[in-house]
């Protein structure tokens, strides 16, 4: 479904991503794990068109999407939920969700809204509250819900568990599973490798801009090097 | 830049010798070359030199310290009006002490009055710069630009309402004590001060403030002090430019010092490259001459000028001459090296 070949990204003199190739087949959850600064977020930002690749290509559903502006990529169903719970703080919860459906003009927006509220009942309680006043966990729910409102075929999720209390982390991964069950393919970027490898079918390990390892998530989770470096020897 | 560095360690006698030589060159030019030049050209040359002083001093604030100021015309106005007021009110008394007649004071006594007024004007401009700089330099980017623009306009409106200096009618009958000699001398002095300043420890501190204020602060550079310092030194030299203009032109009008004048100087700095003294010099000379060169197509002059500015920003944002210094000696060396091949 998503094919990345030899992706190269530079910021000025910094060579952030060096020849990364990866593929995400339809219906799978694939995770990209790695330390802080390995380039995970840079890859996602390039896939969603926020950054320009300096080399290599991205194909989505068989079409070349390298270099397209973000809004055209979203239109094709590839949706990026950015890291850091970036919600439109000055708007209400409802307005945020409506913005998620910005490109849609069909009549099913209302029913999708209900689906999001089934997934996150908390958001329904706070529907008219301004998003800036939500708690961290609620903002993350809103960011995910907003992403779902565009009816993505493919979700890029960047650190959905970042900065959340352990109890909420469990909940967020439950949600990731649920979204997947409902038929969305997911590329999940996580520092919490332990959880990510439980959810994912397949995993890539990124180190300083390179893919250093890849394989079925269960195998990666058993790899001694990964256990040492990312799973705290657990 | 590195091949120029040893100059800083020249012993004092050598420096004095150079200074004397420079002075002699200016006097010789004044005595033998200037009379041969047509007065129209001489006027443009002198105005261009004043613009060099303004551009180089604004470059210290904008280019080296990275603080975008749009109020340079205000400081120029202060210098001009203060030194003109000094020459008109206290000038005759000073001349009397020197034993010269106020009607025909002769070159030396009038030069002394000019210097006193100029120093006073520069001081008042520097103090104003200090007073304005302390509260506004906390602001960043666009805000600072607009605040300095506001101060510049306030200075102009205050002058406009000060009847003692002619108010809105303008200040007339200022003794014309500044000619080619004085303007050139002060231009060279201005350049020397700025060149030495930016190539000193303090210059590096200023660059650090420009590049990354937080990092500079972390390295122990007192950033606020440096910003205020650069701002008031720049203001002082704008005052020098203003008082030379007053004593060359013989009259001042508040409308000369609107923010369009400030913008004109900003354009010189940007065109020459932020943080390049030689660039500022070339741009000031070029931009003073250009309107004259474009005189045949007078009506289109300003339109072309503004379009050039836009195109330049789009295609060459670092300025025509870039960020580095333009070194004629290196150019010669380069040519020689190529010739030898």
């Amino acid at each position: 479904m998503l094919e990345v070949t030899n992706l190269d990204v530079r910021y000025g003199a910094i060579h952030a991503i060096r020849g990364v190739s990866l593929s995400v087949p339809e219906g799978m959850v694939v995770t990209l794990i790695g330390a802080n600064g390995a380039g995970k977020t840079t890859i996602l930002r390039t896939l969603s068109g926020l950054l320009r690749a300096t080399g290599g290509g991205v194909r989505f559903l068989g079409d070349e999407i390298t270099g397209l502006p973000s809004h055209q990529i979203v239109k094709r169903g590839l949706v990026h939920i950015p890291e850091g719970r970036i919600v439109f703080a000055n708007m209400s919860v409802l307005e945020n969700l409506e913005l998620g459906a910005y490109l849609r003009r069909d009549r099913e927006v209302k029913s999708d809204l209900e689906r999001v509220f089934v997934l996150f009942p908390r958001l329904k309680e706070r529907i008219h509250q301004s998003a800036g006043t939500l708690s961290g966990g609620e903002q993350q729910m809103l960011a995910i819900g907003r992403g779902l409102m565009s009816r993505p075929r493919f979700l890029l999720m960047d650190e959905p568990s970042l900065g959340l209390a352990p109890l909420l982390v469990q909940g967020i991964f439950e949600i990731v599973r649920e979204i997947h069950r409902q038929g969305t393919t997911i590329l999940l970027v996580e520092q919490n490798a332990h959880m990510a490898l439980q959810v994912a079918d397949f995993a890539y390990v990124l180190e300083s801009g390179h893919i250093v390892m890849s394989g079925p998530a269960a195998e990666i989770a058993q790899d001694p090097r990964v256990r040492d470096a990312y799973l705290g020897g657990a | 830049m590195s091949e120029l560095a040893p100059e800083r360690f020249l012993p004092l006698p050598t420096r004095l010798l150079r200074f004397g030589l420079g002075l002699a060159v200016i006097v010789l030019l004044q005595q033998f070359v200037l009379p041969g030049i047509n007065p129209y050209f001489a006027r443009i040359l002198i105005l261009a030199e004043i613009n060099v002083i303004l551009a180089v001093s604004l470059n210290l604030i904008n280019g080296f310290a990275g603080q975008f100021s749009l109020g340079h015309a205000g400081f120029m106005a202060i210098g001009g009006y203060v030194s003109a007021a000094f020459a008109v009110s206290a000038g005759p008394a000073v001349l009397a002490v020197l034993g010269a007649s106020p009607e025909a004071p002769g070159p030396a006594p009038s030069f002394i009055v000019l210097c006193l007024g100029l120093i006073l004007g520069a001081l008042v401009a520097a103090i104003t710069g200090l007073l304005i700089g302390i509260p506004t330099l906390r602001l960043k980017g666009d805000y600072l630009a607009i605040a300095t623009l506001g101060f510049g306009e306030i200075i102009r409106v205050v002058i406009q309402n000060t009847e003692a200096v002619g108010g809105a009618r303008g200040f007339i009958n200022i003794p014309t004590y500044a000619g080619f000699f004085a303007v050139t001398l002060f231009m060279v002095l201005t350049l020397a001060v700025h060149w030495n300043l930016v190539h000193s420890r303090h210059g590096r501190a200023l660059l650090a403030v420009r590049e990354d204020e937080i990092a500079a602060e972390a390295m122990g550079v007192p950033t606020t002090r440096y910003k205020v310092l650069a701002f008031s030194i720049g203001a002082a030299f704008a005052g020098v430019g203003g008082s030379l203009f007053a004593h060359y032109n013989g009259g001042l009008h508040p409308n000369t010092f609107t923010f369009l004048k400030s913008i004109e100087v900003v354009i010189m700095v940007v065109l020459g490259g932020m943080g390049s003294i030689t660039g500022s010099i070339l741009a000031a000379l070029l931009l003073t001459a250009m309107p004259e060169l474009l005189r045949p197509i007078k009506e289109y002059r300003m339109v072309i000028y503004s379009l050039l500015l836009i195109v330049l920003m789009i295609t060459r944002p670092q300025g025509i001459f870039g960020l580095g210094e333009f070194d004629p000696a290196r150019l010669l060396w380069w040519r020689r090296a190529r010739g030898a091949r």
Binding site: L50, H71, N90, L99 | I154, V303, I310
Partner: protein, 300 residues
């Protein structure tokens, strides 16, 4: 007391014109963090478009129907919107992503260009704006209100309500608010940010043109440099209210208009042009985020 009320009316009238111009500054700043220095000149060009439109439909001396007024406004606003879009596309878009200083200098260049092209095309000598409304004075409790002042107040109220509707009730308005919050986040929603920026320029320029026509109805002498001072003052109004903040621009405009008329009425009229800058500096030092600005919220 009566004189004070009179000053109040005059202040609100000129203040609402400042507010209309300030809205354009604030919207563009909100979205691009960029001071469109040429906005005052768009105001000027808008006034001239209004003048031409009045000429074409033969509106000259006095008695013109409301239809003529509407036509003049729409023509000026449309013309200015197109101008705004052209400026954005050819001057500002290419410098986007460069240091903000370069964008500011480009805007100064655009400003000089519009002024000098204006001198070339319209001529430097002032032109007289025709009387679109029959001159009339209404007296309310001894306070005189002219028909142009009524027009100014009604027109600017209408435009501000319209803007409010666009920004808070329409799809494009929602997109504008999203882009001004975070351009990246907005584009991840599928919002075509470039088009939103273009629309913002068009809207802001149209408001400036409406302000230009309203201003010309009260002060019927048009010249290519008329936008310089008005533009600067309106920018001050935007900063006063909190730049990037739409209600702030309106409040800032009114505060500035009132301050100007009160100071020139009671203290000294020669300092009129300095008041704006004194207010600007006071607000920048005391509360740089502006009267309605929140310290670290959406627009800092």
């Amino acid at each position: 007391m009566q004189e004070f009320l009179q000053q109040l009316v005059n202040g609100i009238a000129i203040g609402s014109i400042y507010a209309l111009i300030a809205l354009g500054y604030t919207m563009v700043y909100g979205i691009l963090r960029f001071v469109n220095f040429a906005h005052g000149d768009v105001f000027m060009v808008g006034a001239f478009f209004g003048l031409f439109a009045a000429g074409w439909i033969g509106a000259s001396a006095g008695a013109n129907g409301p239809a003529a007024v509407v036509v003049v406004f729409l023509a000026a606003m449309f013309g200015a919107a197109v101008l705004g879009v052209i400026l954005e596309r050819f001057a500002y878009k290419p410098v986007r992503g460069q240091p903000r200083l370069n964008a500011l200098i480009t805007a100064i260049g655009v400003s000089l260009f519009l002024e000098n092209a204006g001198i070339l095309i319209f001529g430097a000598d002032p032109k007289t704006f025709p009387e679109l409304l029959p001159p009339a004075n209404y007296s309310v409790g001894g306070v005189k209100i002219s028909s142009t002042q009524v027009m100014t107040l009604a027109g600017s109220c209408l435009l501000m309500l319209g803007l409010n509707f666009v920004v808070y009730r329409t799809r494009i308005g929602k997109a504008m608010r999203a882009v001004s919050f975070s351009r990246d986040a907005a584009s991840l929603m599928g919002i075509p940010t470039d088009r939103v920026i273009t629309a913002t320029f068009a809207l802001g320029s149209a408001l400036a043109a409406a302000a230009g026509v309203l201003f010309s109805m009260s002060y019927p002498r048009l010249d290519p440099l008329m936008g310089v001072m008005q533009g600067l003052k309106a920018f001050v109004a935007a900063v006063l209210g909190g730049i990037g903040n739409i209600p702030g621009a309106v409040v800032g405009g009114l505060v500035l208009g009132l301050a100007e008329t009160l100071v020139s009425g009671y203290l000294s009229s020669t300092y009129r042009d300095a008041i704006a800058f004194v207010l600007l500096i006071v607000i920048l030092i005391v509360k740089p985020s502006g009267l309605l600005g929140r310290a670290v919220s959406e627009k800092v």
